[in-house]
């Protein structure tokens, strides 16, 4: 590799981690990281990753990223939130601010600054139920943590899980609240729409494939208002030109592409090359997946379902091949179209990728998921937005 035709990626980042354990709330552990490094990829595909500043011959050095939150402020916000929850909790709060640039022939060489946050860990309720904690998004997250403390949504979820019964497995009609629907849509349709990294596998047979019922229309938009992702240039240095129509009438319409996957399929890149850090190769990933809402109110959907489950919250969505699963954080029994206050937790949704072909109707309000974390190929992103309405399913399969 002599530099000709080479793609050079650089990053400078500052990271702050605050770990809070509810049994020792005043002793928050703090970890900091200042990172500078890069990755060079030659025309032959060979790559070299390094730490520290780039070679002087590259003639470029990124500025230090700005801090997006004070350590003390962030620590107080996490401690207040954890203090508002019942039971034992151990959470890790992360904030990362970074500047990246991609240099190469024909690229714009635009410096891109970004800030993301995440809160993750586990809470153990007084009755011993383990509840995954997961929130993330753009910015410092301090305002979101304070809002969560004030509104108490997760505290209520913990109380309900604490009173819950183990979820009995089986196939049942279900209404998924928007946060749960978002997890299913993300796994079933979003990942299905991501082109293979480097275009290694020809997935063109997926175009036109019925991935969901006819009521579904989905776009991916890196600049969607209110979305967790927000960028004008992707990690291949490709300028974002707008939203990509992913699915219409429940059928796959377009893939989400990096530069390499687009080249392999003979189409234009869509601005979806994303890398968790400059050391990782950019691969096709969702930015903000937007599912168009339907026309039904949630009460109408429950009424039409009659008996079944109301899925409040899912966690750990996971797809492998044509299989899909997600942990049920909280579900509620529905009888005669009314929520009963009888809660279930635990259990796993165990489904095929085409689970959403069994959707009957969509709710009239689409809502962004508060957890924008997504892992793929060992790369964890904190700003993969999903905006989804409630979904009524003819049938959903769960394992106890």
């Amino acid at each position: 590799m002599d530099g000709r035709g080479e793609i050079r990626r650089l990053e400078r980042s500052r990271l702050l981690y605050v770990t809070v354990d509810s049994t020792r709330p005043s002793e928050a552990e703090v970890r900091t990281c200042s990172f500078e490094g890069g990755r060079a990829v030659g025309e032959d595909g060979s790559s070299f990753v390094f730490s520290g500043p780039p070679p002087a011959s590259w003639g470029v050095r990124l500025p230090k990223p700005a801090a997006t939150a004070e350590v003390a402020e962030a620590r107080r916000a996490v401690q207040r939130l954890v203090g508002s929850w019942n039971g034992r909790t151990r959470v890790q709060y992360l904030i990362k601010s970074s500047v990246r640039i991609v240099l190469g022939d024909g690229l714009h060489g635009v410096e891109a600054a970004a800030g993301v946050w995440a809160l993750l860990g586990n809470a153990v309720t007084p009755s011993g139920r383990i509840v995954p904690v997961g929130q993330s998004g753009r910015g410092s997250g301090v305002a979101e943590l304070e809002r969560e403390t004030a509104e108490g949504d997760f505290a209520r979820l913990l109380d309900r899980v604490n009173r819950s019964q183990p979820l009995p497995g089986g196939a049942t009609p279900a209404v998924l609240a928007p946060p749960a629907a978002g997890v299913l849509i993300h796994e079933a349709i979003g990942h299905f729409a991501e082109a293979a990294p480097e275009g290694r596998v020809d997935l063109s047979h997926r175009l036109g494939f019925r991935i969901a019922a006819e009521i579904f229309a989905l776009d991916d938009d890196p600049r969607a208002a209110g979305g967790s992702a927000h960028y004008a240039v992707d990690d291949d240095g490709v300028l974002v030109r707008g939203a990509t129509a992913v699915a219409r009438d429940g059928r796959m319409l377009q893939f989400l592409h990096s530069a390499a996957s687009a080249r392999a399929m003979g189409v234009e890149p869509t601005g979806n090359a994303r890398a968790a850090s400059v050391w990782n190769p950019p691969i096709p990933r969702m930015s903000n997946l937007l599912c168009a809402p339907g026309i039904a109110g949630e009460a109408e959907m429950l009424d039409r379902m009659g008996d079944g489950l109301y899925l409040h919250s899912l966690a750990y969505g996971y797809g492998f091949g044509f299989r899909l699963e997600a942990q049920v954080r909280l579900a509620e029994e529905v009888r005669g179209g009314r929520r009963t206050g009888r809660y279930f937790s635990g259990g796993v949704i165990d489904e095929d990728r085409v689970v959403l072909t069994r959707a009957a109707e969509l709710g009239d309000a689409a809502v962004y998921n508060r957890n924008a974390m997504c892992g793929k190929d060992g790369q964890l992103l904190y700003d993969v937005g999903t905006r989804a309405p409630a979904i009524r399913m003819h049938e959903l399969r769960t394992l106890a």
């Binding site: 970890r31 990172f35 730490s51 520290g52």
Partner: protein, 356 residues
């Protein structure tokens, strides 16, 4: 300086038949003091061109000894690792090592120190290939070291995640140790922050759970993780799973004779998240025969079983422990040591249910 400062430098090059050459040169400085832990990646590093050449040469030499159908699964790595510790004075070296490592189909073909037969190719175990349909399902099953490591790792993850408590389960003669040592130098850092030896923690002793509260704890060891997996400085530790241990060493106090013809599980990867009961695995198999042949089964096959049931059917070790790798799609490759384990199972016992 009142705390400790550890500097770790890792240079490595990886050559694989199926993908372009890749190399890395990374140095991180990890400082612990009363305020917490700070990691810096600040020193400029050069491309390790000598290691790149060494990896490419070893790949070519080793590939020549592999059945042709397996050559695109081969990868060879050449690397150097150095650690030093500074505490109120000049830095003192902790550990330095050059190594070569080869793997194929999830099997570690070998890890050796630089200078220790540098120019020699690694010796693959397979003498040929075989179609999956030609394997007799009545053959007894042996788990090769990587399959043992992956199975134990998944079983621990399920239990560690409290999906299913197996405190009372028994795995005949098997001991599993959480250790900061590793046969793979980039994941080897058997030191505490002050440079003292880092103790091993038994997780399972002679088939029985150790007192996990006392020995394991719920937390990851950030010092160990950051020094052995520097990319973790850029993401939360144990972010997506209940991954709360270091490297694994597996031992078995019982031995068992190895039948002349067996189905060997070379490696496998679970296809679902942690859960109790039977789960699907994607397995690389081979078949040994009385003539000493070992034929790799292609392509990989689907199996379906309860990991704890398989561990309960272990008869004993079928040979000495060897380096192994657990290819975890979330946490990345984790290396350890494990013996091959002879089981009382047949391949049919592990077969995935037929689709109707």
């Amino acid at each position: 300086m009142s705390g400790f400062q550890t500097v770790r430098e890792i240079a490595q090059a990886r050559a694989a038949a199926a993908s372009p050459l890749s190399s890395a040169h990374i140095e991180l400085t990890l400082e612990m003091d009363g305020r917490g832990l700070d990691v810096r990646f600040a020193s400029p590093r050069r491309r390790p061109e000598e290691l790149e050449r060494a990896a490419a040469a070893s790949l070519a030499a080793t590939a020549a000894g592999l059945p042709e159908a397996l050559r695109d699964r081969l990868a060879v790595e050449a690397g150097e690792v150095r650690s030093s510790l500074r505490h109120e004075g000049a830095p003192a070296p902790l550990f330095a090592c050059g190594y070569r490592m080869a793997s194929c189909r999830g099997v570690v073909l070998g890890i050796h120190d630089t200078g220790d037969g540098d120019g020699l190719p690694f010796a693959p175990p397979w003498t040929g290939v075989l179609a999956a349909e030609e394997v007799d399902p009545a053959l007894p099953v042996i788990l090769a070291p990587s399959a043992v490591l992956a199975l134990v790792s998944y079983a621990l993850e399920v239990t560690g995640g409290h999906v299913d408590s197996r405190r009372g389960s028994e795995i005949p003669g098997v001991t599993v140790i959480d250790t900061a040592s590793s046969p793979y130098p980039p994941q080897h850092h058997p030191f505490e922050g002050d440079g003292a030896a880092s103790p091993d923690r038994p997780l399972i002793e002679e088939g029985r759970w150790s007192n996990r509260t006392e020995h394991a704890g719920d937390d990851v060891d950030p010092l160990f993780f950051l020094l052995t997996r520097p990319d973790r400085a850029l993401r939360p530790l144990a972010a997506a799973t209940h991954f709360n241990r270091r490297n694994l060493t597996v031992r078995c106090s019982r031995t068992a004779p190895v039948p002349a013809a067996v189905a060997v599980v070379d490696s496998w990867r679970v296809r679902v998240g942690p859960r109790s009961g039977a789960v699907p695995f994607h397995a690389e198999l081979s078949r040994t025969g009385p003539g000493g042949e070992r034929l790799a089964v292609t392509p990989a096959v689907a199996l379906h079983f309860d990991p704890w049931e398989v561990l309960a059917r272990v008869l004993g070790a079928g040979g000495p422990a060897a380096p192994a790798v657990d290819e975890d799609p979330i946490e990345g490759d984790g290396y350890g040591d494990a013996p091959p384990l002879v089981t009382s199972l047949t391949l049919a016992d592990l077969a995935a249910p037929r689709k109707s």
